[in-house]
């Protein structure tokens, strides 16, 4: 009998460093700070950590973090590949480890000097190894070097097929900026964005302009996973993991799944949707708010369709109706998201999902939030998670 992860585990602590464009400290320092902060948030000692999960792209080894924060015996350590596609995947690994007894207290972290150090916007250089190197060989010689260039190809086709306009992308960016205006941690705090400014900003990779891109950010974010039972007795209101999965599907490439028959949907995200809804025995109507991965604004509209909040091609209508706003059908990225809070590779969107369940977001919607949907990176092997209230 397979073990279901439904309601077995919970997020009991979240920890973040300050977000900035120049941290002035090492990525190990950021990792240690956010891991310690997650322990403080949960009300436990770092000595109780017995598992770590991070991204393959993270520069900080698990044992370096362990020594820095004073963790002792580790029985579980693991890494997830594919950039921001790892985000929810780290939680899936942690939840499996806790549910199967491999560990009791697993901290997932991502710490990066994403602006002052290695920047995503600097592009790939060929300094990659193995089969991944051959994959990039089809794109580097032609000058497709940055994430925006890879995503723009899909965004353009999708927008052409369904009549999605630059104004629609602008509505997504502005909605998230409006959320960020209330969040003092956010890049967009105190910086309103108008449609006029959006439309006048420079095009980077058509149809995407400057404000469609996330914010390269220095910072760290850690998420502490333990059993749902234990989480009940800890300091914070638990965010119970109703369902979590990873997802990669036929024809999958990293950022460039261009060779599938049609390019106007996100098959891996649809797979993630099927799996989390089935595991949680929930559907789109049960989801009260979301933290959909938003390295680029176009990804939000496509995911509204992947997760069944509307039919294919109708995501633009939801956006035009204000569904993503604080009083809308699906308040989304109420901290500002990767676009307007900061790009900590999706980990900060998970932290916001936890806040929404706790009721402590600076963008807390004026309604009951029983279930929050969180997704991992778009265009890569990905995943999704549904967080819920303790029962």
């Amino acid at each position: 009998m397979p073990i279901s992860l439904k309601n077995e585990t919970a997020i009991a602590g979240i920890g973040l460093t300050e977000f900035s464009k120049h941290s002035g400290v090492s990525e190990l320092s950021l990792a240690a700070q956010c891991v310690k902060a997650a322990c403080d948030d949960a009300g436990i000692s770092p000595a109780e950590i017995d598992g770590f999960v991070t991204y393959t792209l993270d520069s900080t080894d698990e044992i370096e973090v362990a020594r820095a924060v004073g963790a002792a015996d580790l029985s579980f350590f693991s890494r997830i590949n594919y950039g921001g596609g790892a985000a929810v995947g780290t939680i899936a690994q942690a939840a499996m480890a806790v549910a199967t007894g491999q560990a009791t207290t697993v901290v997932c972290y991502r710490a990066m000097n994403g602006r002052s150090g290695k920047r995503m916007g600097q592009g790939v250089s060929g300094e990659i190894t193995s089969s991944d190197l051959i994959h990039w060989s089809w794109y580097m010689p032609y000058g497709m070097l940055i994430p925006g260039s890879w995503i723009a190809m899909i965004a353009n086709k999708y927008m052409h097929k369904y009549g999605v306009t630059r104004e629609d992308l602008g509505r997504v960016a502005i909605s998230q900026r409006n959320h960020a205006l209330r969040n003092s941690r956010a890049y967009g705090y105190g910086k309103p964005l108008t449609m006029e400014t959006y439309l006048q900003s420079k095009l980077i990779a058509e149809p995407l302009c400057l404000y469609d891109f996330c914010q390269e950010t220095d910072g760290g974010c850690a998420i502490l996973v333990t059993s749902a039972e234990r989480a009940r007795d800890l300091k914070q209101k638990p965010a119970v993991i109703r369902a979590v999965t990873q997802a990669s599907t036929r024809g999958q490439e990293q950022m460039t799944s261009y060779y599938r028959d049609e390019l106007v949907s996100l098959p891996e995200m649809e797979m993630a949707a099927r799996r989390v809804y089935a595991m949680a025995n929930l559907g789109p109507d049960d989801i009260d708010a979301a933290c959909l991965y938003d390295a680029f604004s176009s990804e939000i509209i496509m995911q509204l369709e992947s997760f069944g909040f509307c039919e294919p091609g109708e995501g633009k209508h939801l956006v035009r109706e204000g569904a993503l706003d604080i009083d809308g059908r699906l308040p989304n990225n109420t901290h500002g998201g990767l676009i307007s809070e900061g790009y900590i590779h999706g980990m900060n969107n998970i932290a916001e999902g936890v806040r929404l369940i706790r009721g402590t977001s600076t963008g807390q919607p004026p309604k009951a939030v029983n279930h929050v949907l969180v997704s991992s990176g778009v265009g890569v092997p990905t995943g999704a998670m549904i967080l819920g209230q303790a029962q």
Binding site: G121, I204, L263
Partner: protein
Amino acid sequence: MTTLVTTRIKPPMGLDNAWWWQMADEGKLGIQRCLGCHTLRHPPRPMCGDCHSLEWDTVEASGRGVICSYTVLRHPQFPGYEYPLIIVLVDLEEGTRVTSQLVGCTPEQVDFDLPVQMLIQQDPDGFKLPVFQLAGVA
């Protein structure tokens, strides 16, 4: 002393892809063909995902296709590339799709479903790669 990179990034070549660039160097656009089930596939892979054959050969594409999607890259501008840089996905008449560059036109002239024709572009350093131009352009 720092060496300034002024040419495009060269494709890393391995056992699974070098032949394609060698064909390009000979002026041809190659497509991998499974010898087990004769399915054409791109990008190349060592095994056929349908019949699992490891045997394959290559066919030379006609170079004719239509634009499936495109993007115009404007920023950041990397050494070795000319901007605005028009990148296209081309549906080849043989049935496979290839990622390439569109040359000889302005961004305003690009659109979905336009017919295109492959040509081989040679860089000043002698490197050759398949690119496309709008069909009917001399």
